[in-house]
Point group: C2
Chain length 528, copies 2
Amino acid sequence: MWVSPNGRPLYTRAEVAEHATPEKRIWVTYGDGVYDVTDFVAIHPGGERIMLAAGRAVDPFWAVFSVHGTPETRELIEQYRIGDLVPRESDPSAAEMDSRGTGLEMLFANEPERHPSLRVRAARPCNAEAAPESLLPYVTPNELFFVRNHLPVPVIDADTFELAVEGPGIPDDFRVSVTDLKTKFPPTSVMVTLQCAGNRRAEMHAVKPVKGLQWESGAVSNAVWTGVRLRDLLAAAGYTLPDLSSAELPDGVAHVHFDGAEGYGASIPAEKALDPRGDVLIAYEMNGEPIPRDHGFPLRAVVPGHVAARSVKWLSRIALSDDESPSHWQQRDYKGFSPSATLETSDYSRAQSIQELPVQSAIVFPRPGDAVVPDKDGCVPVRGYAVSGGGRAIYRVDVSPDGGKSWIDADIVRAPDQPYGRHWAWTQWEARVPVAAAISASLSPSAAAGSSAASDAEPVGKITLVCKAVDSSYNSQPETFEGIYNVRGVLVGAWSRVPVQVKPPSEGTASGTQQHQQQHQQQHPPQR
Amino acid sequence: MWVSPNGRPLYTRAEVAEHATPEKRIWVTYGDGVYDVTDFVAIHPGGERIMLAAGRAVDPFWAVFSVHGTPETRELIEQYRIGDLVPRESDPSAAEMDSRGTGLEMLFANEPERHPSLRVRAARPCNAEAAPESLLPYVTPNELFFVRNHLPVPVIDADTFELAVEGPGIPDDFRVSVTDLKTKFPPTSVMVTLQCAGNRRAEMHAVKPVKGLQWESGAVSNAVWTGVRLRDLLAAAGYTLPDLSSAELPDGVAHVHFDGAEGYGASIPAEKALDPRGDVLIAYEMNGEPIPRDHGFPLRAVVPGHVAARSVKWLSRIALSDDESPSHWQQRDYKGFSPSATLETSDYSRAQSIQELPVQSAIVFPRPGDAVVPDKDGCVPVRGYAVSGGGRAIYRVDVSPDGGKSWIDADIVRAPDQPYGRHWAWTQWEARVPVAAAISASLSPSAAAGSSAASDAEPVGKITLVCKAVDSSYNSQPETFEGIYNVRGVLVGAWSRVPVQVKPPSEGTASGTQQHQQQHQQQHPPQR
């Protein structure tokens, strides 16, 4: 037997591959290490999935299951180390990973089909944002709704699936079937916009690099969710709903955990979960259809006004607890940090979980770099969305043709029948923005220098369109990304800035921007 | 009789003064006009107060009662015009206003005594902010609490005072005495920070002029309020509390009006008023004492998380309604506008009333222009407050020694026992800010030029301290006042910037800043 310079036995990948069953012991590799994890399989938090790596490298799995990316995980696996890979086989990038492939394709063998318009930011697990055109219908069609999966999509038989509910007063083995949820409770429908914590991250990344999926402004969508009020389910399960006017909730109910069947988990404050005006649902329908597999079939928590990361898909367990969810994603992800915190200095135990989201808005059309053609009044149409957390309405959207020097009020459109403090659905807006003055300003000496660098023929001028929203607490968006910079690139709510080229009307009217506007202008709901 | 060039009769102030009783008709002047308002007295919205101006000028009263500052009011009075003042007597500024004075002193004959530390921004009615030192105790002593009065302080006999309550199901003549409130309902105490919509207006004004009282950062204070839950009072009065989980409130209860005995009025959304977690009080005590006259004796509405303008003092009437309060201050004041709106173009019918306030923070010490002396580690202490609306907690306060290039987390202090979503009391914070790097930066050529302009001996450097807060919805403050500029100067929540001079330790340790820090450091509540 060969040994490495540090005295550990050396193995080839072929030798490791022979150890893939409990009888022969279960070996895996990680980096240049070889590990016998036979005794760990039974206590692996991710369960049986570890067997997918039996006899081969765990590296590609860990790249997908980001929960492993901690010093603690690395310390843990070192306890099982039995040797090293021979040097020529220890480069993880060279190992795709052995002749049988990485094994990852087995994890993702059951992904649903997806609409080709979705803009994929990561293929496995699927993370794909809504195309700009898909942000124009007020209610996003299911197949165009952004997809943000942390793990492979699980295969679930709704006929036999059961949701576990745990908490004070609830019998230990309480389970509820999908059929029971549909037939034994009054159905409630709520229109809720879900937004990823990292929506617009690419814009922050362009200012200073951040870690995470490069979302543009399409990691947000809006749907009507139908299901059972969480309050009602908890009461039916045996939990006694507390008097919400008292200063403290009873012991054991500070947080409500949601666990997904695929391994994801999160929690929300119990006050939100139990609030009769909180509208937290255990949903089984999305826009009148069974929830699609990518969005949580058969059951999904829907937590209006909170970051989408708390609306857990493939919901398999609800638990009341004194503490937040122990899940990696609750404890070590989805928190905000100061601009000066680095990946190394971010103190997750001190920072607070993201729950309600801050005020946000984005210009959807025109797109950055588009050529726009003013109408006879010198105006161009600008469209976008705005949304805030915590049920706060959007009170105003300001749109500027000149980078923020002057502003006009946009016309705003939102779903009717949203009670005060329960504006869970986004606002769409449109403004006819006068660009004439902005063009004049752009022809000042400094701006003209930039204009002359354009390659298109005869640009009339370059301008920067800006939008910013104000919510019903009169919170406003910060001007720039620098002040809200955080190394994970979450909570990306700075002013939306879109540089465009203004062209003379004689160059025709078939610009992409105008096509988008015409195509979708009928899709607003009727009420202002 | 003389006549003016436009054919109207001319009168002297002496002639007008003869008409001050119903028998002789009641005349007033406004500008150069003479008006016979005898028939208007009975329908004057301000009631008998109009008689204070009988026989003299209304100009000084209208300057105080800003409700008159509308085109509608001017149209109204013109209907009663009977003539003009003789030209030599028509200058309102020359007329203080006749030999009997303006009459205003009678309105303000019963003002309470006030603590000399209060910083008066307007004397009549009294508008005075808390001194910086008064912002350091976590609970503001009553006599140091900022005063914002819209009208003279009324004289009220608590023994005979009654509060009217009106709404569906409530008997027409329902009244409740102060004694009944104190003895027939369970007392509830809530710690609530009240902040004026115009707090920090002077900082915005310095960037671009705005209209309003020149508040610095002391139009905010914190007290424990004791009284009766509005919910409980409405139920006791006969109103049936609605099911809050339903999508709509019953007819007639979209807003709750509060009218003050002095003439002020405002309203809040019924959802807030009726929310068991909203903690809206009809308060009769402030920090364990009867509410002082300046703060609403004997009864005051306290609306936690909302702009202080909705916490109506000298509360004399509560009414449920489909509409917002018709009060001038609800309809034509306390609304937010775009940076491009002017006094002329501000459309009050389109803009939304300010209710919940946005996230706010301010540096209290050091003061602008102070000299600060670093400790042996090169740090200086910086202290201030942060507060958000809607019950949102403060999650983080970032403090910068270099104008916003680098940031450190401040240590934050807040009252214990504030449930999730009910953080009605402010957060105080303190940071030891490393100024060494900032000093080096300030000695770069451009900054050094500024430094040399200082008159004090041997300044080590000039730096700008900055703070900004993040609330529990991760809303953050905007960087500058330009983007949130509004001509009334409300909602002034940009980063707090305080320029200071850093001096070498050899210049002694008795700086004002250090004295303040030592004097007040024992006054924090125990919990972080």
